[in-house]
């Protein structure tokens, strides 16, 4: 049995506390009136305000769907200021949402990986099942937090999802056309169905997995196999819809047909990375003696492969839009090229070039500390990926990685570590009666 080390527990509490304080400061310092917002931007923007503001004003109409198509000459300035206020008010919310979603998505990615191992009846991985089950335990609090944030958005506490604002929809024909699907009630019902399904599978599969330890036949194992295969079908559809709902709809005019896959690749690689990191950590503390370098090697191969897969999807999405150059599609990337140069291209370097070069060598994939260091970089890269998906639509050029963003990472990171490692203490780290445990123990490459 694993015991949660006091140092790690303390660390997670400190991270949560600090993160909470940073988030509160972020929320407190958001402006509440247009004048405050203008003053804040004036302080920051001295000198290079002119051309900048113009570019932003231009991108609003198309991107945010403020009904600017009937641009009212003199009213434009004041609607721009109003928009600036909303962006600044959105910032702490977006920081909270990006971090909450990022850590939730890690647990969801691990759940998908776990279900695939179960459905494929993989022989190498049963030794890692308890680690995966520990990580997916975060699905429950993480999912609830994301749902609460979505609920608060639907209650107009922020303007992250512009289509939730009836004022905006009233002036926007495209959104009126989509209102049958994109309306707050149906949106929340869908979110509840997705989360309910995922959490149900997680809890039930965990129950069967623990029951298998004590049973004297393989019936629980077989049941788990069936449920996992069923879950994968459910997940494939719901994950895609979730990515449209929770992420793509912040840019309600824009759409991409492979967005679900793209988000999936991001969560899958982050999840596998976290499995590898937690496994290496537990091994370094003397647990999981049976896990050998070949298991780590396999996880690192997945990290490498799925990083390339992510790049493939990213590029497929980008190239088609770049090539066709259709105004309503290309604004998505124009906003990122203009205002998000560093996080946008930095993300490509971290998520593609770095793992490609660093994890290419077979021997490096077996070096435990090397996998940890690479994992940290990959995780940061995929945080930036989510950042780039949400922020351009919600805060525009007012982004910054400051207190609220770091606070969000610290708070949810701390909660994640606390929850995952608490879950790990609940059951023996090595499954006892999994029929493939022998194969997993002797796994070597």
């Amino acid at each position: 049995m694993y015991t949660f080390s006091n140092k790690l527990r303390l660390g997670s509490f400190i991270a949560m506390g600090l993160g909470f304080i940073f988030l509160v400061i972020g929320f407190m310092s958001a402006p509440s009136t247009v004048e405050e917002a203008k003053a804040m931007v004036a302080v920051h923007d001295d000198g290079h305000g002119g051309g900048h503001a113009e570019a932003v004003a231009e991108s609003h109409g198309e991107e945010q769907g403020h009904g600017a198509s009937e641009a009212h000459g003199e009213e434009h300035d004041s609607s721009h200021d109003e928009h600036l206020l909303q962006q600044l008010q959105n910032r702490p919310w977006s920081a909270l949402y990006v971090a909450a979603f990022f850590f939730f998505m890690i647990a969801l990615g691990v759940l998908a990986f776990y279900a695939i191992q179960r459905a494929a009846q993989a022989g190498w991985s049963p030794l890692l099942f308890r680690v995966m089950e520990g990580i997916t335990a975060y699905l429950v609090p993480g999912g609830i937090i994301v749902f609460v944030i979505l609920l608060l958005s639907a209650l107009h506490m922020n303007h992250m999802f512009v289509w939730m604002d009836p004022e905006v929809v009233a002036h926007d024909e495209l959104l009126q056309g989509k209102a049958g699907y994109l309306n707050p009630t149906f949106f929340l019902i869908r979110a509840a169905i997705f989360l309910g399904g995922w959490i149900f599978y997680r809890q039930y599969s965990r129950k069967l997995s623990l029951a298998q330890d004590e049973s004297d036949d393989n019936s629980n194992f077989v049941k788990n196999f069936r449920w996992s295969a069923g879950f994968l079908v459910f997940y494939l559809v719901t994950e895609s819809m979730m990515s449209w709902d929770w992420i793509m709809s912040v840019d309600p005019h824009w759409y991409s047909t492979l967005f679900g896959w793209y988000v999936f690749a991001s969560m899958f690689v982050s999840g596998i990375t976290v499995i590898a990191m937690v496994t290496v950590y537990l091994k370094s503390k003397g647990y999981l003696e049976q896990v050998n370098d070949s298991h780590i090697h396999d996880l690192a191969k997945f990290m490498f492969g799925i990083s390339i897969f992510w790049t493939y999807l990213w590029f497929s999405q980008f190239m088609l839009i770049w090539y066709a150059d259709i105004p309503e599609e290309v604004t998505y990337y124009v906003a990122r090229f203009q205002d998000y140069k560093l996080p946008f291209f930095g993300m490509l370097a971290l998520n593609f070039v770095f793992p490609l070069l660093v994890l290419m060598n077979s021997d490096y994939k077996r070096i435990n500390w090397f996998v940890i260091m690479t994992g940290i970089v990959v995780l940061f890269g995929h945080y930036l990926d989510i950042f780039n998906m949400i922020m351009p639509a919600t805060v525009g050029d007012q982004w910054f990685i400051g207190l609220p963003e770091i606070g969000g990472i610290l708070f949810f990171g701390g909660l994640f570590v606390y929850w995952v490692f608490t879950a790990l203490t609940k059951a023996p780290l090595q499954p006892k009666r999994n029929p493939f445990i022998e194969e997993s123990r002797h796994f070597h490459y």
Binding site: F315, M319, W322, Y323
Partner: protein
């Protein structure tokens, strides 16, 4: 120059693996093992050095990438400038997304083909080459281990019979 070798035939890959380990433990130098299919772990048991084909693969990939860049730059930018996707920038860098599929494909193409050719050459296989295979049965269901002889014929033959060989013979070998 002809040299004397001893050849032992086996009819099971497990027996062969144990035999290889035993012969190596007695400090005899195994020159070659002929098998009808790749036997997992045989290279390690024989003490062969790790393959360096991965390094050549990386270098060939870099070569392919370079060829793609130079080629597309010449064809699409310099020799006959093209207006790509309605963006007449005539710059390689700004049109790069259009070339990425080609860059990727040629990287893979060069790495794969040159790696196969390298592997064949390194294995001394080329067109019209006479087969080195000493016994036809190794293409069917037998495994053959070949050891160089240095006036220790009887001792080695005994050892090989002991490891479960189904046939042991001494021959001259051209080299």
């Amino acid at each position: 120059m002809a040299s004397k070798v001893i050849q032992a035939l086996y009819n099971d890959d497990d027996v062969l693996m144990h035999a290889v380990k035993k012969v190596r433990a007695e400090h005899h130098h195994i020159e070659e093992v002929y098998t009808p299919f790749p036997v997992h772990g045989l290279d390690k048991a024989m003490g062969l050095a790790d393959t360096r084909i991965a390094i050549t693969s990386f270098l060939y990939g870099c070569l392919g990438l370079t060829v793609a860049i130079v080629m597309m730059n010449f064809i699409m930018i310099e020799d006959w400038p093209q207006d790509i996707g309605g963006k007449p920038s005539f710059s390689y860098l700004e049109n790069m997304p259009a070339f990425v599929p080609i860059m990727f494909e040629l990287t893979v193409f060069f790495a794969a083909h040159l790696m196969v050719i390298t592997f064949y050459l390194r294995s001394r296989m080329w067109p019209f080459k006479k087969a080195e295979n000493p016994d036809k049965r190794t293409t069917d269901d037998h495994f053959l281990m070949e050891i160089g002889l240095h006036d220790n014929e009887n001792e080695l033959a005994d050892l090989l019979w002991e490891t479960g060989a189904v046939e042991v013979k001494v021959t001259e070998k051209e080299s």
